[in-house]
């Protein structure tokens, strides 16, 4: 067991957990931040995507002990009122079917656009290829990222 101070969504949280606990389960089980989803646990699907210092990271394979002083941002902290340009584009394009993969898709897209504000379609495809959507909303994901890039 270790006592860790984590910087999440601009606040410091103290948790007592085993070192090897993935950040995903600390967020979900210990802090009640369940917007970050579990689906594969092995860095394949992107449902658990959060930002570590602004970079998209699979929280399911990130041991909490490795987070250190990094700033963690989850879907709950992406924007105050759900009005981040990516969230707005997602609403506008009406991307979701079941919706389960979408917080991860949004976090992936937000980090990507921060580093690459005017991407080509091919760059969008490469970035978003990391996230699986079982409902097959890929066309809309693509469209929404392009739209978010435009309206930023």
């Amino acid at each position: 067991m270790a006592t860790l101070n984590l910087k999440i969504n601009g606040k410091t949280h103290t948790v007592d957990v085993e070192d090897d606990t993935p950040l995903l389960w600390v967020l979900r089980d210990h802090l009640g931040l369940v917007g970050t989803k579990y689906s594969c646990g092995i860095a394949q699907c992107g449902a658990c995507t959060v930002h570590l210092n602004g970079n998209a990271t699979f929280s399911c394979v990130t041991p909490v002990s490795s987070v250190g002083n990094s700033e963690v941002t989850t879907i709950e902290g992406l924007s105050e009122n759900g009005d981040h340009p990516v969230q707005k584009a997602w609403e506008e394009i009406d991307v979701a079917q079941c919706g389960f993969c979408q917080p991860g898709q949004i976090m992936q897209a937000a980090a990507f656009l921060k580093n690459n504000p005017s991407p080509s379609m091919e760059e969008i495809d490469n970035a978003m290829n990391r996230n699986i959507c079982r409902c097959g909303t890929y066309h809309k994901v693509r469209e929404a990222v392009a739209q978010a890039a435009k309206t930023k």
Binding site: E18, E91, I132, C135, H139
Partner: protein, 720 residues
């Protein structure tokens, strides 16, 4: 700690309480009786709550609330149902709100999601409820203003009388309206006057989804509850011995309990359980057939040759037709097992307390969850409540209640509230799969290339009838024999999006392509000739509407420029399932020396389109699903255990692998029919036929990428 919002019933009662004086319309959402609608006072709603299965309430503020019974798993029903009510009501859509109802078998008779059946089932009832509400509101306004009701108009929640220059919103009339009685008959709108139906209304849950609000079963938490994960036995095996010492030693694990051939590790959070599960030392021994994929292949071939078949349909004299044939075409097609793999893994919350039980989680069949729990616990179903959370996908997996059963068992064993969660590995190895199936097709052709005989024999695993005997081309061929064989497998199987047709359509549509080639006919022409026969001189019973088949086929030929460009190699597939008609054409072009799948054109006749956004989603999603599994996904068994245990080996389609998909909808004038499934079945056939057109390779098994015929084809997928 977060707690999932538990509105449901309490919220409903609150609405009743806070909107005293509001208007309530009770109606039967989906009963088999003719739609019955009544206007109720608040007291009557409370007293008669059992007589109606859905409610529409209009508050004095003008807010419209619709109480929705069917589980939402992405098919967008929570948005499309209220659209229908609001249309007939002429409501202001921005003032309409939808609440997910809990399970209540006395109120709802079809509270499930499956079979693409909800909209066709409820269409007329929803419309009538809206129209009745409007009727009494108009009558109330007429009474208030002392003007004839016929002179009153309604638009966007506002009631107006031109002559006297009076206007008012719905809320102003609800009190009087609630004292009036419902008319015997209401006039429904002419479809051409629809203002909401047919427009792209956005998902009513969008904001919650995009801000990560707890809405799914996996997100549910209650103070004091335990978590549990379960180790299940391989198929066909049972526990011989078990040592849980090491698992119990993991910090955070509070208990290990065994029931049947399952072992549950219980604890205070998820991660320790994932670790502890790996430390369980369980020895298994055979308890029935321990099967591997190699066995299935052998069994299929053997049963097709020698098995006793159930005759599903017989027209004319097939033997004679094949004897006199100028040409016979024969081919066998086979598909593998598949998991459903919804993104949200299986999970459920259960709290057993004496002779009562509370259940919360994602299910497509809440009543089955309740019945299962009642049986395990030996208590009356009325003592069990089921609350439905939003489903992170279903695809048929959540029609089963196996994971509900587990939650109940563990809760009873530890005597407290628990949420069980499956890992992805659990979902792939302990699943209930789309069963493998093998088909043998034969066609007899005469000199002119006409089909004079057609045979189909299917053999499936736990599949019951593996055919759709009254589907096309039955009815279009003089001599037909359709047979089915079922093999009892120890592997659990279950309905998977578009059961049977998810593979049968591909096999049949590919086979028809083979027949067209042998007959020297263009695939569109071949089908049109067969349709003509079915239309003018049908043989036996027809399970489909020929005119709708003709229309989608002609339209897809037109929209895809069928046969017009020699550089585009095309594959056609047309299929009827779940009451809807979908025709698809896949286009392959040579691009930088590689055959490249560029686009799929789809024409759908699902009757009237209620929500174009939702309809597009379902068609494109169905095509992506159909394509992904046809191309990439395989689940094979070795000694009762699947070899593919997670998404690194169980390959799902990704964003870069989807081509352009162009969707078109035909307005056939019919009422809305299902759309959650029908777009999936034709896709594999369209792609396989295009691959044949481009490369001369015929793919008779899925997934395509694992077939030897495909090994040297470098198929690219590109959007233009």
């Amino acid at each position: 700690m977060s707690t999932i919002t538990r509105e449901g019933r309490r919220d409903f009662l609150k609405i009743v309480g806070t909107t005293a004086g509001g208007l309530f319309i009770g109606f039967n959402w989906s009963s088999c009786d003719s739609p019955k609608v009544e206007v109720l006072s608040t007291e009557e709603v409370l007293a008669q709550v059992k007589n109606f299965n859905a409610y529409l309430s209009i508050a004095p503020s003008g807010d419209v609330v619709i109480y929705s019974p069917n589980p939402e798993l992405g098919q967008n029903i929570k948005t499309s149902f209220p659209m229908v009510v609001a249309e007939e009501l002429d409501a202001d859509w921005s003032k309409v709100r939808v609440i997910q109802a809990n399970l209540d078998t006395e109120k709802y008779d079809r509270q499930l999601t499956g079979g693409s059946g909800a909209m066709p089932h409820s269409w007329e009832r929803l419309r009538k409820a809206g129209a009745t509400a409007k009727y009494v509101l108009v009558a109330a306004a007429a009474q208030t203003w002392n003007v004839p009701a016929e002179e009153i108009t309604v638009e966007s929640g506002v009631i107006s009388h031109k002559g006297s220059n009076k206007t008012g919103h719905f809320g102003e009339f609800v009190e009087i309206a609630s004292t009036l009685s419902a008319p015997e008959e209401v006039t429904l709108k002419d479809k051409k006057d629809f203002k909401i139906i047919g427009t792209p209304v956005k998902n009513v849950d969008a904001k919650e989804i995009y801000t990560g609000k707890p809405m799914y079963g996996l997100d549910f938490y209650r103070e004091g509850m335990k978590h549990a994960m379960i180790q299940r036995a391989p198929f066909g095996m049972k526990i011989k011995s078990m040592d849980d010492g090491a698992a119990r030693g993991v910090s955070g694990v509070t208990d290990v309990v065994t029931f049947g051939n399952s072992v549950a590790v219980v604890g205070t959070s998820t991660w320790p359980l994932m670790k502890a599960k790996k430390l369980l030392r369980i020895e298994y021994e055979a308890d029935g057939n321990v099967e591997s994929t190699a066995d299935h292949d052998r069994i299929f071939k053997d049963l097709l040759e020698n098995g006793k078949a159930d005759v599903r349909r017989k027209d004319g004299n097939v033997d004679q037709a094949f004897k006199t044939a100028a040409k016979v075409v024969e081919a066998e097609y086979q598909c593998p097992f598949l998991a459903h793999s919804p993104m949200e893994p299986e999970n459920f919350f259960a709290h057993v307390q004496g002779d009562r039980c509370e259940l919360i989680g994602p299910t497509q069949t809440p009543d089955r969850a309740r019945q299962t729990a009642a049986q395990i616990l030996g208590i009356p179903p009325e003592n069990i409540t089921v609350e439905i959370t939003r489903l992170g996908g279903g695809f048929g997996r959540r029609l089963r209640a196996d994971y509900v059963e587990e939650a109940v068992e563990v809760s009873r064993a530890i005597n407290g509230p628990v949420k069980i969660v499956w890992s992805r590995e659990d979902e792939l190895t302990g699943g209930a799969y789309r069963p493998a199936v093998r088909y043998k097709f034969s066609a007899a052709l005469d000199d002119a290339g006409n089909i004079i005989g057609y045979k189909l024999k299917g053999v499936g695993m736990n599949a019951g009838n593996t055919t759709r005997e009254n589907n096309f081309p039955s009815g279009a061929v003089e001599n037909v024999l359709i047979e089915s064989i079922s093999y009892d497998s120890s592997i659990t199987t279950n309905a998977w999006r578009a059961p049977i047709t998810n593979f049968l359509a591909y096999a049949e549509q590919s086979f028809l392509d083979e027949v067209a080639l042998a007959a020297g006919k263009d695939p569109v022409q071949l089908r049109l000739e067969l349709y003509e026969r079915a239309k003018n001189n049908p043989v036996g019973e027809l399970g489909y509407n020929v005119n709708r088949m003709i229309a989608v086929t002609k339209e897809v030929a037109e929209k895809s420029n069928w046969g017009k460009n020699p550089n585009v190699k095309q594959g056609l597939s047309v299929y009827f399932s779940h009451r809807s008609y979908v025709a698809q054409v896949a286009d392959i072009e040579m691009d930088a020396g590689s055959p490249t799948l560029k686009r799929i054109t789809a024409v759908t006749d699902c009757g009237m389109v209620v929500n174009p956004t939702g309809a597009n989603h379902q068609v494109r999603g169905g095509i992506v699903d159909g394509m992904g599994h046809a191309m990439y996904t395989n689940l094979t068994f070795e000694n009762g255990v699947p070899k593919q245990k997670n998404y690194d080996s169980y390959r799902l389609i990704r964003l870069k692998e989807v081509p352009e998909i162009n969707t078109h909808f035909l307005d056939s004038g019919f009422d809305p029919t299902g759309l959650g499934e029908p777009a999936l079945p034709p896709t594999g056939g369209a792609i396989a036929n295009a691959i044949f057109a481009a490369t001369g390779r015929r793919l008779r098994s899925q997934p395509f990428i694992e077939q030897k015929e495909f090994s040297d084809i470098k198929l690219e997928i590109k959007r233009t």
